[in-house]
Symmetry: C2
Subunit: 392 residues, 2 copies
């Protein structure tokens, strides 16, 4: 590198280091920043002044006296920038304006209504347009979690069957249209990065978030970084075989995890058990909803409980394969199945214990994510904050 | 960081950068190093002079004239240091003196003869003692590939059932005894890092090496780094369930990959097929060797071919799980089963195609490693060269 390039890189690095330090401490003085970062006082003052000019940092008061003059405290201005987050992994497309703390400030949901291909793409534009109109702070960029195989590096949705998208250069399309940086990931990967960044729990271990919804997929955070695959497909556990012979899957194979453990499969299994339910279904079987299944479960229905245990065993088999590849890790379940609580977790844990070496099972944590339905949305904001501002 | 610490870190970084540049170019002049690294000429000269004093770099002649004075060419002195590599993942313990190019200069093999626990540890000392006596260059350190669950960061063999080792602080023991840096990995992980470093093929993808021997295990290289697990157990696929119900495994579960695909299981299956073989076994079934199985296979025996296909299908199931977790990747098989050639690979490929999404199967390469039986030994040297000298 030339002296100038090195200098610019150092400046960029120091600038992000100072912002991260202020961000993580809540409130901190320039002198404390210098102590923590080991940068010189003049460097810290320069960098802070830059961030203040850009409006991302402000002076918020005076620290208690330590004997001499009371130092000025600095803080990040949480709403100085907004991020646009999109979660396309649901039956309605969800978008949000999110602040620098990953807190959602404004939402727009647009129903997909069986639209796909160009119609789905138009809906993405509508969502971003609507969010931009509501933004009263400058925008930092757009983060997207989309179902399917996502080539994050090149910004391409390689294949999203539900949306009938094939090799859509989504990043390029949005960057051209909105002139903002765009980051993408598979929706389960976004969820995992959201949980890693904003969730609670031990972050030193590899984190796997298994999201159970319309489909089933996992996101894996290793060493603070998302595994994307080469160039896509990491965590695509929905089509791992867990039963032989099993039901035919949408993908053309049979016995896939999704044939047992996605929300449609759960509804199908409860319908099939209709005659064994403790109370008659309140609607014709084809109109059964997940809320009704949850209500039956909450009422202690034995047949529904049995279905939940089967779902847990299938998830447990997949979890055991994850442990076989990654070693002991934290495996957290996300999605509506979290309503099945200990019944589901116990079935998963039992299966993992039966299918992995004891030393690895002992070293594996199985639980639920700490974030709710916004997990993927918040994850997209974490991707943006990480790549654009060097946070986390 | 203090100014002094930053300065030292920069110096260390530059020093390794220059050495890596010389190492990778074969022969290069100081001026070329400065161009490639963008370091100043005086910095390059200083660093080169340091390496020459330490004997790792030498002047080897003059480059062709580019008009003016012919520049002096520098080269790494391949035998300036030796590394001790140990592969404890076989029925005999293997050790080698390896030079800075990862080329084996001297070998010592010591038979384990059913020894375990302290006896196995004593054998490790004997191996290192013997290698040290043969070394006519200074030693850079010791690299070890050991079976079982290896906590590489803390240098502890957490559990190696075959050796009856439980929580052995192997790094500490060897560092105390020999006063040399020690790096450890599971033997399959060492093999994967060896193939990644010294093997041929596309190194941009995640690399998985599945080693089939006494046990079956995988090593995974992601983004140029070995996955170790948290803190161990990455790639422990030998105990993934691939058949239900299957044979009882040593680990207490049944249907594990090892019950079909390790060398003992292969011998067992050929013995069980003895009556169907094209020629009678030359020895009583209990004395059947892997060489005999190979000879039968090479002679076109249909029953042995059938066993090989079963072995391939089981490996293919495990490979499909790897693809489900990592996405498309390079999966290379190592060990004596490589002698079964296309018959084995075809069975693996067919199973992977049947068990993964087409877009991921297309993106996955299945083949054999390019290195031979020394793969793990050379891998331990790669670990040392990487961590001690910043190479690769």
């Amino acid at each position: 590198l030339s002296k100038k390039a090195t200098h610019e890189r150092t400046r960029h690095y120091n600038s992000q280091l100072v912002l991260r330090t202020i961000y993580e401490s809540g409130q901190i003085s320039r002198a404390q920043i210098a102590r923590v970062t080991r940068l010189t006082r003049p460097t810290v003052s320069d960098v802070v002044s830059d961030w203040m000019t850009q409006g991302l940092v402000e002076e918020v008061g005076l620290a208690p006296s330590g004997g001499g003059r009371r130092p000025i405290l600095l803080s990040v201005v949480d709403n100085a920038r907004y991020l646009i987050g999109l979660d396309l992994g649901r039956e309605d497309f969800r978008g949000a304006l999110i602040n620098l703390r990953g807190v959602i400030q404004h939402r727009v949901n647009l129903p997909l209504m069986d639209g796909d291909g160009d119609a789905a793409l138009a809906l993405v534009y509508n969502l971003v347009d609507a969010l931009m109109q509501s933004a009263d702070s400058p925008l930092l960029g757009i983060g997207i979690g989309t179902p399917g195989l996502v080539d994050a590096e090149n910004g391409i949705v390689y294949e999203a069957v539900n949306l009938n998208w094939h090799q859509i250069p989504l990043r390029h399309l949005l960057q051209e249209r909105y002139n903002l940086p765009v980051y993408m990931a598979n929706d389960c990967q976004a969820a995992a990065f959201g949980e890693y960044t904003f969730g609670s729990g031990d972050s030193s271990k590899d984190l796997v978030v298994i999201q159970v919804g319309w489909g089933v997929g996992a996101g894996i955070v290793h060493d603070g970084m998302l595994l994307h695959g080469n160039p896509y497909g990491a965590g695509e556990i929905g089509h791992i075989s867990v039963v032989e012979p099993g039901e035919l899957c949408q993908c053309g194979k049979s016995g896939c995890l999704e044939t047992i453990s996605n929300t449609r499969a759960i509804l199908r299994q409860v319908r099939a058990a209709a005659s064994a339910l403790s109370v008659p279904l309140p609607v014709p079987p084809e109109r059964l909803t997940f809320d009704m299944v949850q209500a039956l479960f909450d009422g202690g229905d034995v047949a529904v409980r049995q279905v939940v245990q089967d779902v847990g065993r299938a998830l447990g088999a997949a979890a055991a394969y994850l442990v076989g590849v990654l070693g002991g890790c934290r495996i957290l379940i996300a999605g509506r199945v979290t309503g099945f609580g200990a019944c589901l977790l116990d079935a998963i844990r039992t299966e993992v214990a039966q299918r992995t070496l004891p030393a690895l099972a002992e070293n594996t944590e199985i639980g639920f994510v700490s974030l709710g339905a916004d997990i993927a949305l918040r994850g997209t904001s974490a991707l943006l904050l990480h790549h654009e501002l060097g946070l986390f």
